[in-house]
Structures are given as structure tokens and as C-alpha cells.
């Protein structure tokens, strides 16, 4: 049973493989060995035990199959001694039962729990590497794809390598045994077994054609899927009702059907010819050919007995089947190697930002950024260049500028999530690299525009560490969280939850988890700032989902709570920049203007221009109240 299931699983795998990037034979060997070693380390002895059991199983299959038939027919024809024969069959029956029980037990009670352990081991290797790579790795599509592929197959690839190995060994065994059996009957029969091997090159051509076909089909499928999405996605629904697009889409769809039929016919003809030849070489040339020969040898030449004839027909099919199985099995090692290559090159990757265990411990202080530059991988232009600024303890710094001007990139560099391509960041005169990475990052309390709440309790989401276990410490934690929630305006909502601050957020873990709306989630995320004590607070447009009233209150609270902490905030709305000690205007990755709001307005540059544009409609009213409107403002300015 178990056997059969395993077989089908890997077969579908082999069928779905599409293109095979080339990989060196040595590497194939090394990669597969790597995985086997991993299994061995996760559970010593398991591999050896598995292979031995499988070999026993292969032997059993042989003896209970072709060999048993030979014994039955021969002994009946020769002597007619049935008593001994009954005994032999009965013993084989008991052995077979016992062995299958052993196999089933081994897989269900040993292998299956073991698989889970092994998965954890590989997962932890991957996690450890992923959390240590710099953020730019996520943005490198090639690297990221490698990781996602490695991750997606974490669950079964290791075992598949093992199955391929055991299958190969058993195939070799069965093949040898069947060939030996045929040899003793008549060596000529071996030739028939080799026929499928001879047409192996056709199989390669057929696979190439299938790959080419599915490549051609991809375009058709894309188009079909696109048409479908337009019809079912909510986001297209209004336009699909208000325009004539549906007619065009249906025309396009009809076109894809014609394309499909054209492609299918083009490849289908060649593929079916090849398939037909392959199939016939097995069914007719090998099996019926060998049968024909055997019957000839029995009746005309008299060199083979009738019993052997039965055996031949049974085992010639096996030989041909095992042979082609072996060929595709070898290909599967190749396929494993490709996946493992992803995994290994991912694990071998050396992060550019590494923990400096002997480093200084970062604390409060004065941050100085000088001539900082950063270029995204593969980009032609620096995303950030020649940025210099300082943040003193307790200062409120505003970073403003249009989308894509480099503000968020700057924040990520400050948190040492990217490695700067030029310039440096220092804290109290020591460069960032001199500090331990963990203490450096702990120095900042960031809330990002695209913050995420995790599937943990509200309190843990805010503290970002497990809640203290008991007594005093826990009471302290609870008080901190409560106060932080009050400040951020989320307390009322959290108290309404079934378990208060211990309620698990998101439905990922717990189908009873709370799902917060955008604004509520933002308030909870902002509570982190109130609960934390890090000397630097970074707010990257944290109030975008709040309405102006809530935004206003929260902003006031934030400034009050952070009176003695440095706050760096990014905002689109220039109105909030008025409160900052210093404003830095980013444009095209550079700081183009800096100074207090007043100074910048004074300079009458880009900032002043932006501010006025945003303020125009609002201020007009003030002005019109005082009569004169816009002119009055200009006059005031020129004076």
C-alpha cells in the first residue's frame, strides 16, 4: 500500500518538471549527498534501516512474483509433488505478511514522525539564514525566488531524495534478479528487455516537445486567465459594466481558444507518433515479441518448458518496466539537485551585514550621518546620495519629500537593514559597524507605513517580546501595555476584545483571533512607541489610515510622550513638519533643503513652494477674512 502511494507521488513530480537548467554531474552528486547527510544527522541509522528494509522488500517482490511462478509450474510439470509446494507457498505467504507489516510499521510509526523532525531541522536552517540577510536580498528577485523555492519544498524534498535512492537500489536489484532468471532460461530473451532502452532517445525528444508545447501554451493561458480575472475580480466590476470591454474580452477569449487548438494540433501530432512508438516498443516488440520467441523455442525448438514460458512473459514486462523506471529515476536525482542547489546556495550566502559580537553596546546619543549613499541592486542610479544630517537626543526631525525621494530608504539604512554603498552613520563618533547589530537595532523603535501585526497576543505585539511570566514583572508589563494603548487611543477597542490584551491578533493561528481595521491596527502598532524606551523613535507615515481628528490627537500625544526621545518622522502632509526642530527635504535621493520650518519658508525654495501649494486653499480663507487674499500673502512675503 505504502509502496504504491510513494510511487505515484514521485511520478507526478517527474511529470510536472518543465525545464531543466543544466547542472554539473558532480554537483548533482554533492547536492543529493548533502540531503542524505541531513537525514542522517536528523536521525542516525534511519537511512541505513530504510535502505535495508527496502532491499528486503525488493527481494520479496521478486521471490513472490516471477520466481514463485517458475517454482509452481516447474515442480508441477516435473514431479507433481504438491505437498512440498503448498508448504513453500505458505511459508512465503507468512514471510510476505510479516515483511509488509514491518514496512508499514516502519513508515507509519518511525518514518512519518521522523519526517516532521527533519522538516523542522531544515526550516530552522532556512529561518536562521533568512533573518540574518540584509533587506536588499528580499528585493533581489533572483535571490528571493531561490529562497521561496527552497522554502516551498521544505516539506518533502529530503524524503524524496531518500525515496529516489531506495528506489534506484531496488530497481537495480530487481533488474539484476529478473535478468539472471531470464538468462538461465534463454540468454536471447535479454535482447527483448533492452528494446525500450534502445528507444530511450525518443523519450527525450518527446519530453523536449512537451516542454516546448507548454511554453507556447503559457501565453495562451496568461491571456485566458487575464480575461477571466477581468470578469470575476471586484476591481474590474464597475468598468466591465460601464464600458464595452466585455465584448472585446470575449473576442480575445475566442482567439485564445483558436490558438490553443492550433498549438495542440501542431505538437500533438508529433508527440502522439513518438508516444505510439514508445508504447508499441513495450507492448508489442518487447512483451509480445518475447512471447512469440518463447513459444517458438518451446514448441519448435523445445529448449524452453511451458512453465518457463509463463515466467518469461511475466518477467520480460518487469525488465522493460524497471529499465525505463531506472532511467526516469536517474533524471529525478537531477531534479532534486536543482532544488537542493537553491537551498545550498541560499544557506551558503554570506550576509553583508553581520553581527559584530565584540561590538559596543549602543545607547542614547547623537547620530551623525555623513555623505550617505545607497544604490539598489541592478539600479542605474543611486537611490540615495550624499545625505548628511544629525539627530541629537530629544530632537524632532521631519523628513519630507515626494514619493520615491529616498526617505524610507534612508530609514532602512539607519536601522542597518541595508549596507550603505557610501558614506557612514555614526553614534557618538563611533561608526555603526562598531556596535553590536542587536543593540543598534534595539536603539530604534520604528513604526513603518507597511507595519504588520503578527499572530500573537496584543500585548506581545506591543512589547515585541514574550510577556514576563509571573508576579511583579508581569504586572509591570501589563501596566506598560495598558498605558501605551491608552496613549495611542486603542485601549477602548482592546478592552472590548474577549481576552483583553491577551487576545490573539489575526486569524492565522486561531480562528477566534481578532481582525483589526486599518485604523485600529495602526493605533496598536503606534502603541509600541509608547511602550518602548528606545532613545530613537522612527515614524514612517504612521497615521495614513487615520482620519484627521484621530491623527491630530495621536500626534499631540506622541510629541508629549516622546519629549525626551529623539523622533524622526516622515510625512506627506507638510502641516506636521511645522512642529519639527528641523526639516529635511528629500528630492531624487538627496537632501535638497534643511532647516527649521521658518528657515525653509524664509529661503523660499522648493519646500516653501510645496508648502504653499498644499496650504493655498486653507490659507486663502484666513487671508480673505483679513481681506486681500493671496495678494496679501505675497505682499507679506516680499516685505
Amino acid at each position: 500500500m505504502s509502496k504504491r502511494k510513494k510511487e505515484t507521488k514521485t511520478k507526478t513530480k517527474a511529470e510536472t518538471k518543465e525545464k531543466k537548467p543544466s547542472i554539473k554531474l558532480r554537483r548533482v552528486w554533492e547536492n543529493n549527498l548533502f540531503m542524505l547527510k541531513l537525514i542522517h544527522k536528523a536521525s542516525p541509522g534511519f537511512l541505513a534501516l530504510d535502505v535495508s528494509i527496502e532491499m528486503l522488500w525488493a527481494a520479496m517482490e521478486f521471490f513472490s512474483g516471477s520466481y514463485l511462478l517458475k517454482v509452481v509450474v516447474d515442480s508441477l510439470k516435473d514431479s507433481g509433488r504438491t505437498g512440498w509446494l503448498y508448504l513453500f507457498v505458505a511459508v512465503l505467504f507468512v514471510l510476505h505478511l510479516a515483511l509488509q507489516f514491518l514496512v508499514s510499521w516502519f513508515w507509519n510509526c518511525v518514518g512519518w514522525p521522523m519526517e516532521v523532525r527533519l522538516t523542522l531541522k531544515i526550516r530552522k536552517l532556512l529561518y536562521a539564514r533568512m533573518r540574518s540577510v540584509e533587506l536588499s536580498c528580499y528585493e533581489d528577485p533572483a535571490f528571493y525566488e531561490k529562497y521561496v523555492k527552497a522554502m516551498s519544498e521544505v516539506n518533502n524534498r529530503a524524503f524524496q531524495v531518500m525515496w529516489s535512492l531506495e528506489r534506484m537500489l531496488t530497481q537495480v536489484f530487481s533488474l539484476t534478479a529478473n535478468v539472471a532468471l531470464l538468462w538461465t532460461i534463454d540468454p536471447v530473451l535479454i535482447i527483448f528487455g533492452l528494446i525500450p532502452f534502445a528507444v530511450g532517445f525518443l523519450r527525450t525528444r518527446r519530453n523536449k516537445l512537451s516542454v516546448a508545447e507548454s511554453n507556447d501554451m503559457k501565453r495562451v493561458d496568461w491571456h485566458t486567465n487575464y480575461v477571466q480575472r477581468c470578469f470575476y475580480l471586484n476591481e474590474y466590476a464597475k468598468e466591465m459594466r460601464l464600458t464595452h470591454m466585455p465584448d472585446k474580452m470575449l473576442d480575445d477569449y475566442q482567439g485564445t481558444l483558436d490558438d490553443f487548438i492550433r498549438i495542440k494540433k501542431r505538437y500533438g501530432k508529433k508527440i502522439s507518433v513518438l508516444d505510439y512508438i514508445i508504447k508499441m516498443s513495450h507492448e508489442v516488440a518487447t512483451v509480445l515479441g518475447a512471447t512469440f520467441y518463447t513459444v517458438y523455442a518451446t514448441l519448435v525448438r523445445g529448449t524452453i518448458t511451458a512453465g518457463d514460458c509463463l515466467v518469461v512473459i511475466n518477467s520480460i514486462g518487469s525488465v522493460s518496466m524497471f529499465l525505463s523506471g531506472l532511467v526516469s529515476n536517474i533524471a529525478s536525482f537531477h531534479e532534486h539537485a536543482l532544488f537542493i542547489d537553491n537551498l545550498r546556495s541560499f544557506l551558503d550566502y554570506q550576509p553583508k551585514i553581520r553581527e559584530n559580537p565584540e561590538g559596543l553596546t549602543a545607547g542614547a546619543g547623537r547620530i551623525a550621518v555623513s555623505h550617505l549613499a545607497y544604490r539598489y541592486q541592478g539600479a542605474e542610479k543611486d537611490a540615495l546620495s550624499d545625505v548628511s544630517l544629525t539627530v541629537a537626543p530629544g530632537e524632532k526631525i521631519a523628513l519630507v519629500g515626494q514619493n520615491g525621494s529616498g526617505k524610507t530608504t534612508f530609514v532602512k539604512l539607519l536601522l542597518h537593514m541595508y549596507q550603505p554603498s557610501g558614506g557612514e552613520i555614526t553614534l557618538d563618533g563611533h561608526p555603526m559597524e562598531d556596535y553590536t547589530l542587536s543593540s543598534w537595532r534595539a536603539d530604534f523603535e520604528p513604526v513603518f507605513q507597511d507595519f504588520k501585526l503578527l499572530g500573537m497576543s496584543v500585548a506581545e505585539n506591543i512589547l515585541r517580546r514574550p510577556m514576563s511570566g509571573e508576579g511583579e514583572a508581569q504586572a509591570q508589563d501589563r501596566a506598560t501595555v495598558t498605558e501605551a494603548l491608552r496613549q495611542s487611543g486603542a485601549l477602548e477597542r482592546v478592552e472590548r476584545m474577549p481576552h483583553g490584551m491577551d487576545t490573539v491578533l489575526t486569524k492565522e493561528f486561531d480562528s477566534h483571533g481578532e481582525v483589526l481595521s486599518g485604523g485600529e491596527a495602526q493605533k496598536v502598532a503606534l502603541a509600541r512607541v509608547f511602550a518602548g524606551t528606545a532613545p530613537f523613535v522612527i515614524l514612517d507615515e504612521p497615521t495614513s489610515a487615520l482620519d484627521p481628528v484621530a491623527e491630530y490627537t495621536l500626534f499631540e500625544n506622541m510629541m508629549r510622550a516622546c519629549a525626551d526621545r529623539a523622533v524622526i518622522f516622515i510625512s506627506h502632509r507638510l502641516s506636521s513638519a511645522v512642529l519639527a526642530d528641523r526639516v529635511y527635504l528629500f528630492d531624487g535621493g538627496r537632501v535638497v533643503e534643511s532647516g527649521s520650518h521658518a528657515e525653509l519658508m524664509d529661503r523660499n525654495g522648493q519646500y516653501a513652494d510645496m508648502f504653499r501649494r498644499q496650504a493655498e486653499s486653507y490659507v486663502e480663507r484666513t487671508a480673505s477674512e483679513a481681506a486681500g487674499g493671496p495678494e496679501r500673502r505675497d505682499v507679506a512675503y516680499e516685505a
Binding site: 500500500m1 513472490s64 509452481v72 509450474v73 508441477l76 504438491t82 510476505h96 505478511l97 507489516f101 508499514s104 513508515w107 510509526c109 512519518w112 514522525p113 533573518r131 533587506l135 528580499y138 529562497y147 521561496v148 522554502m151 521544505v154 518533502n156 487575464y226 470578469f231 470575476y232 466590476a237 460601464l242 464600458t243 464595452h244 470591454m245 466585455p246 481558444l257 495542440k264 500533438g268 508527440i271 502522439s272 505510439y276 508504447k279 508499441m280 514448441l299 511451458a306 515626494q402 532602512k412 537593514m417 534595539a442 507595519f451 504588520k452 517580546r465 514574550p466 486569524k507 493561528f509 484627521p548 506627506h572 507638510l574 511645522v578 510645496m610 496650504a615 486653499s617 486653507y618 500673502r633
Partner: protein, 653 residues
Amino acid sequence: MKRKKVTTRTTGHFSALRSDIRILGKVWRLQPSYIVCLAVYALTWAFINSLAVYFRSAMFNALDNGTDFWGVAVYILSLALFYLLIFIPDHLYRLIWKPVLERKLRFRMHRELYCKAQRMDLACYDDPDFYNQFIWAMRESDTRAIQVVEAIGNVVNHLLSSLAIIGLLFTVNVWISILMLAGNLVAAFVVDLIGNRMWIRYDTEQNPRFRRQDYIDRVFNLPDYAKELRSGQVADMMIRDQEKTTGELEAANRRTGVKATLLYGVLYNVAKRGTYYGTILIMIGDLAAGRVLLGGFAAAVSALWILQSTMQSLSDALAELPRHALYLEKYFAFLDHENQLVSGTEEVPPFQTLTFENVSFSYAPVKTEKETALQQAVVAYEIKKGEKRDGEEQDTDQGTDRGGEVLHGINLTIRKGEKTAIVGYNGAGKTTLIKLIMRLYDPTEGRILYNGIDIHRFDLEAYRARIGAVFQDYRLFAATVAENVMGGRYDGQPGTEAEVRAALDAASFTGRLSTLEQGLHTPLTREIDQSGVNLSGGEAQKVAIARVFVRPYDLIIMDEPSSALDPVAEYELNHSILNAADSRERTVIFISHRLSTTRFADRILLFADGRLCEQGSHEVLMAMGGRYARMFDMQAEKYRAGEAWERTQPAAT
């Protein structure tokens, strides 16, 4: 792993087999050749399978009887010839005809669904339950239909094969045929029955753990979480959780492993081996006594192999049917769904006025009771099976907060040539108002009058064609610029081309257009065409806006048309839109929550909590000192503070 795939036999769902019959009927109507081919194929294979056994037995009997060489060889040669001939149509069918027929069937099913979908009430999209059902019908019903038809074909094929072979064995030895029937029934059907229950239990119990594992994988996987993972102790907490989950899973696997060993290692094992060795023992007796010739033995041995696989396939195929049926009911429920919005018949005159008379609106669930019950059955079934995806669950939950009334007692009139602004916070009902005007929904209470006539009485398509709208969440299609502007086919006539160019110009897209190599024929988005152009948010918005200028719409509606733009671009675009509209004496309604952009309007409507609270020009509303004035002040305060600074500054220096 060592587990059988879960093929579920849902007890109590046999009434659902109706859907299987119905889908068969539907496929027959859409693509009769598909069913004919499938039936012929199933019958042919049942025939081939039994023929192979028969030939083998006949050949060995001849061998045993001492027939001469050619007497035996004729069996082999005719079987070879038969194979050579029958596999030609077999290959053509499997590799060409069947995929093509399937594709055609899918196409026809889709076309039917699409036409239905396009006429479907927009309200259906707002009911997450219904929407899930709809998406499901769109994405999967064709595959399910094909699977059902195939499963029925397989049942016929395997049933006939099994019967033919057992019948053949009957002539050899009655006991063997009984033994094989019983043994395979136990091995395939009984074991599946118990096994499926066991795996379902396992999946149901372990599903939360699998989900947790996936979730933690995602946290480490997705760029969205990357920043969070690097601050605080989040990563360690997640790893600890993963270890705990794995431990629990391992223990569960051990427990279930014991049961699996009893089932497969003992019951299945004994049934399967018992059949095999039992057959051989009986045959030894028969052969020794001379009751059976070698042919009978050979037939029994090949029947052993073939029966085992056909019976298993039969069990699998039978198990599939009720499972598909339940899902297909969703498909039919969607096809049977009646629209609530019914088109009128009257022609639509040019626009004069639009009046809301005491209009209220609430998003009501669109599903009938029967559909809800069905959905619940499916959910219960999926949870039981452990197949429920977390995403879907979240979708359904969003439905709960949609109950309340969104608009209450709205009265207002919009006249030709007016520029009206609608302002208010998120959720105040602004966008809903627009959808009511477009008749994408019908009001729950009250009436909407167009030139004094209830809009129900107009032909729906003609009515909508009077109004040009750009939505906040506008979409461009993977088509050329011109097709996008025309909203469908573009005929390329000089007249049409001029119109398209003029519209793009009014939306200030001309500058960008001149940089596109293929001009109006440039394909947009890369969804289909790799060489397509991806426009930036602001540019795309301009193309969307051009749609309302390309046709002589009487009434233009813009729902936050400038949301993707930065303040400077927003300012420019608003001016250009208003100018373009002005020069054509069009009526414009636009929505924004930035009050600074709406003050140019002739009239401002302030919505709060679904009510029309204040209306009038900017000056009137400011003078009134109500909600609008407060909102405006709040948004303006900081700016004014800044300006105040500025004003005092020069004096100070």
C-alpha cells in the same frame, strides 16, 4: 508519505448526486461530442482489458494442449495487430482530440458564466459569501465538470473491466473469482472507507497546526514582515512557536501512525496477500488435479494484477462523485441566481436634472436562504475535511460589519452644468451615493429621478451610457491606449482617432503619449503582452479620466480622481479637469476628502454618517460655521500656523 490521499466519501450527500446528473446534462448540451468520445473510450478500454486476459489464457491453453506452433502464434500475432491498430486512435484521442474537446467545453462553460457574471448585480460583489461562491464558480467549475464526467467514465470502464475479468475467471474456478472479488473489495473499498475517516480526523485535528506552520513560514518568507522580523525578539518567538508546533505534530503522527499500521500493515496486508497466495494455492490444487490447464493459471495471474488496479480505481472514482457534487451545487446556485436589479425599457433623454427623493440605502446580503444553507454545508464539509483555507475564512468575516444603513434619507437635486463637490470622511457614504446614481445599486428606500422620471423606468444600459465615471479604484485593461480610452473596441477611423486624442489632451496625457513609440496603439500593462507599458499611478489615472471626455456624457462623476497624485500634480489636474468640463458645459460631480481641492465647486455637499449634513458654496458653509467649517479649520490649522510664522518672520529680521 505513507498516507493514502484523502478521497472522501461523504455520507449523507448522496442526494447531492443530482448535481452530478445535472452537470452531465449541461456538458451534453454544451459539448455532446465530449461525452460520446468519453463513453466510447471507456467501453473500448473495458474491452481491451478483458481481451488481454482472454488472449493470454487462450494462448496458454493452446500451449498446454499440444497445439502446433502456428496454432499458438496466431493468438500472439492477432493480439499484436490489435494493439498496433487500437493504439493509433487511442493516442490521437488522448493527446489531441480530448484536450481540444476539453478546452472547447471549458470555453463554452466560461462564456456562459462570463455573460452571467457581467449582468450580475454589483451588490453581489459586496456579499463576501456570494462573491466567494462566484469566484469559485469562475475558477473551478469547469475543471470539476470535467472531473465528474471523467469519473463517471472511469466508473463505467472499471466496473465493466472488473465484471468481465471476474466473469472470465468464473469459467476457470468459481472460488477464485469469489476470492478475488472479496479480497479486492476489502482491500479497496473497506480499507478506503476506514482510512478516509482516519485521515479526515487527522487532518481536522492537525489543521490548526499546519496553518500555524505555514503562517510562520510566511512570516519568514514575505518581504512585508522582513522589517518586523529584524526588530524586537519576534524571530525567536516565532521559532519557538514552530518548535512547539512541530513537537505536537510529531506526537500526533505517532498516534495516527499506530492506527495506520493496524489498517494498512494488518487489514490491507492480509486482504491483499491473502487474495494473491490464496489464488495461487487454489490454482496449484487445480493444476495438480488436472482440472485446469496452464492457460487458466496464466489468466488467474494476470487477472490478479489487473483486478487490483481496476477495483482501486473504481473505489477512488466512486468516492469522487459526491465530493464534486457538493461543489457543483455552488456552480448551479450561481447560474440560477436571479438579479435584483431589473432594467426598464424607456429611452433616456438628455440630462436636465437628477433628484434624490428621501433615498436610504443599506448593503443587504444578496443570497437567498437556500444559497446560505448550501454555503454552510460546504464550509462545514471543508472544516471537517480540514481543507478550509484561512483566506476564505477571513473573507467571510468581513461580511458581518456590512449590515447597517449607509445612506439615510438623502434629498438633493443636481442641475445641468453644475459643478458639485461631495466631501466627508471615509465611510460617510460618498462612494455609495455615486453607485446609486450610476444605478449599480437600487436604493433600499426612496427614489432617484432623472429629469423627473424614476430611473427604474429607463433602459439600464442606455441610462448608464449617459453618465461618464472615473472611480477611485479605476482600472486600466490590458489593451491598447485607444481601446482603454474608448472602453472597448477601437475602430481606428480618423474621426474616432481625433476624438481619442482630444480626450487624452483634456486629461493632460498628451505629453506622455508623445513618448510612447506606438502612440495610441501602445499596449498597456504587462499582464498579457511582455512589451506592454506600465504607466505610473498618475499617468494611468489620466488615461482613466480621458474615458469620460471621449464620449459626450451629460454627467461626469469623478470619485477622488487625484488620490494617486502628489499635491502639485493634483492641483494641476483638478484645474485642467474643471476647465475641460467647463468648456463643454458639462455637469460634474466630484468626491474628495481633501477639502482644499473641492472649494472650486459651485456647491459642496457635506456627508457625515450617511446623511447630507450641509450644502452650499464654500463661502456659505464657512459662514455657517458648522461641521464643514470645523473640518476645514482642522485640516487648515497647521498650514495656517506655518503661514503665520512666515508672516512674522520678515518683520522680525
